[in-house]
Symmetry: none
Subunit: 209 residues, 4 copies
DNA sequence: CATGAATGAGTATTCATTCAT
DNA sequence: CATGAATGAATACTCATTCAT
């Protein structure tokens, strides 16, 4: 989905590039979560990835590339989880519920990554930012389709207006961005359940007791 | 409310300090919105504020102080708007609705400032961050009280769980953080209405047609 | 003695100028001893002197002026002590011994000031430095005269060569500059006695048991 | 001897680090002698060393590190000279005399470096200062041993009290710190001889004509 | 004479990026 | 492909000095 921005590489071996970039993305995410993007240095990332600074630059062109890599990795990470959660399901209403549940869970479990995304997306260069937002857009659209299909299958969702998919994909983010509060307020699973319930009620799903 | 962190000043005239700091906060907010906190230089801020760099440092001790000033200014800004919106109202249910509406509107109208807050809070030094989060906490608690009072006045809010105030104060932020999407998706007022409606339904308020 | 450099003042009242400058010199010496000349700020000095920065500049033209003032004050301070010690004495040999003893004592008691002088003289502007060194020169010459007169009175000082006065006025400085060592090595008075004895032996004074 | 403070480096090649640091120390000493430590800029040092500022910081962590490097270099410099002067000698009395002569000569010949040390040691950060003073302490102890051994070999030194080694290692410093006077007062070698003679007399060495 | 706010020139330090080996 | 030394541009912060009130 969307059109991922291409990253030029020095190295020819395509498989090696893919593998190393995945590795770099994981390492960089750890470093960025720890110190923040701006305070983290390329050296930090290289050390964490077990590469020399020079080698790093064989797989990546700039610090912005690294941040972009991290974004791609994290975004596609939770998107894949949601997709996996509905992989075996065919009934549209069940698919919507399962997707919602999986998404909410991902937001809570990957709170560090999600917070990172929300804090540092604005630090991306214009091109990278555009690509990342396009990916997010795709994910929202994916949810919009799930909602449409559930409705097509007879689910009553009178509350689902034009922003339904946006709301659905935004409210759960609270579990990551308000973690400083929620941690002490409600056990994780209860918080997840409350958010799911709130969303379904907001959409007008009447069969949610 | 909360305990604002104190900022030391070189200048003794307290009124002058207050006035200039307000001025600096406004100027800095403009600069930070434009370039982001990390890319903005102190010189940028000074120029925008119409001060010399040296003078700036007579009212502020560090770049962090400036970011903190901006946070304080923006946070108390929308908080004041919400308070003003319910100032004349005594009926608890009306107060809740008015507060919600005012808050949602503030989130949309001040989208730039809100986005700034959500992007740069993590850049604050620990002490400043603590102070800012305490202020946010106060605001959430304020909403929690509004909900409690509405309920006490007989409003049926079966959907309001432990996270009710959090959800209520978080979802509207979407109007700021997803502006890149919503701008082209729905006219502002419609978006506001949809969010308010969604929240009330989520809370279980049944008298919302 | 020597030609003290003149310092221009804004203020006309000559007595006030003299009085305030003495006050400033004392305050500045305290500050410089504490933080060192370069790390101390004019503000520090003003605060310590109980003046505003603006007022300070009515009595002094620059930071260098202050350092010069301090030097003058400290140098003439110990010089006066030595002169006082021989004021009532007329016998040349007794005068030399008394001067020596007083000087050695001053070096130990005023160790902080002496260290300050030796550390910061090089920070003076050329003109100020010249004036300060001229003052020191006068003091050495004064000791040279004492030695000459003692010899004229029949004292045998076969060891007193061209550098006699220099050595006599330099070695005691050790009590200030090596304080970090001597403090734990010998009680103050013993150290003084040892230095005096060493000097007399070095000069060849044979009647020093 | 003593425990030299460790300096962290960005560069891994240990030999390169050693070599470059020696080079930097020499260059910095020239710059500091010329302008003084506080007035000299890192840029001055880098230019004098033929390095870019960035490279300089690959071998050194701060301006204080550079000053420390200079101190180490200069201190071990004259210490080595003194050791070399007695390297071939075994007779304790001859060793003491040779050491003294060599030290006095070093003080006069390296007057600029010695003055630098005495002027700027106080500018070192606490840790660096401690390390430097420990090194000086070692040197004084070394002289104390020479004196003890000479005495053990039968040399009569009735004037050598607890401060003997301190005095011996301090008085010659005069040739550096009073250079502004002595330059015009006595030819270099004569001054050296007079100081050596004075010291031996002060120690009570009777076989010094 | 006193005050203290304003100023701007000055500087140590960091770090993304390059490139010779 | 890997390495790591070299680089220089960029920037927050300080402080002596001035001057309007």
């Amino acid at each position: 989905m969307a059109s991922p921005r291409k990253i030029a590489a020095q190295v020819k071996d395509a498989d090696l590039v893919t593998e190393r970039r995945a590795h770099i993305a994981k390492a960089a995410a750890r470093v960025f979560r720890e110190r923040g993007f701006h305070n983290a240095t390329i050296r930090d990332v290289a050390v964490e990835a077990g590469l020399s600074q020079g080698s790093l630059y064989n797989y990546v062109r700039s610090k912005d590339d690294i941040l972009y890599l991290v974004h791609q990795d994290l975004t596609s990470g939770y998107a894949r989880e949601v997709e996996a959660a509905i992989a075996g399901l065919t009934e549209p209403r069940a698919r919507l519920r399962a997707a919602l549940t999986a998404f909410v869970r991902a937001m809570r479990e990957r709170h560090g990554d999600i917070a990172l995304i929300y804090q540092e997306t604005h630090a991306l260069e214009p091109d990278s930012k555009r690509a990342v937002l396009a990916q997010t857009q795709s994910f929202i659209d994916f949810f919009a389709r799930l909602i449409e299909e559930a409705r097509g299958a007879g689910m009553r969702l009178p509350g689902a207006g034009p922003l339904a998919a946006d709301i659905t994909t935004f409210l759960p983010v609270m579990l990551a961005l308000r973690r400083w509060r929620l941690r002490d307020l409600a056990p994780g699973e209860a918080a997840e359940a409350e958010v799911v319930g709130f969303l379904l009620r907001g959409l007008g799903a009447d069969d949610e007791a």
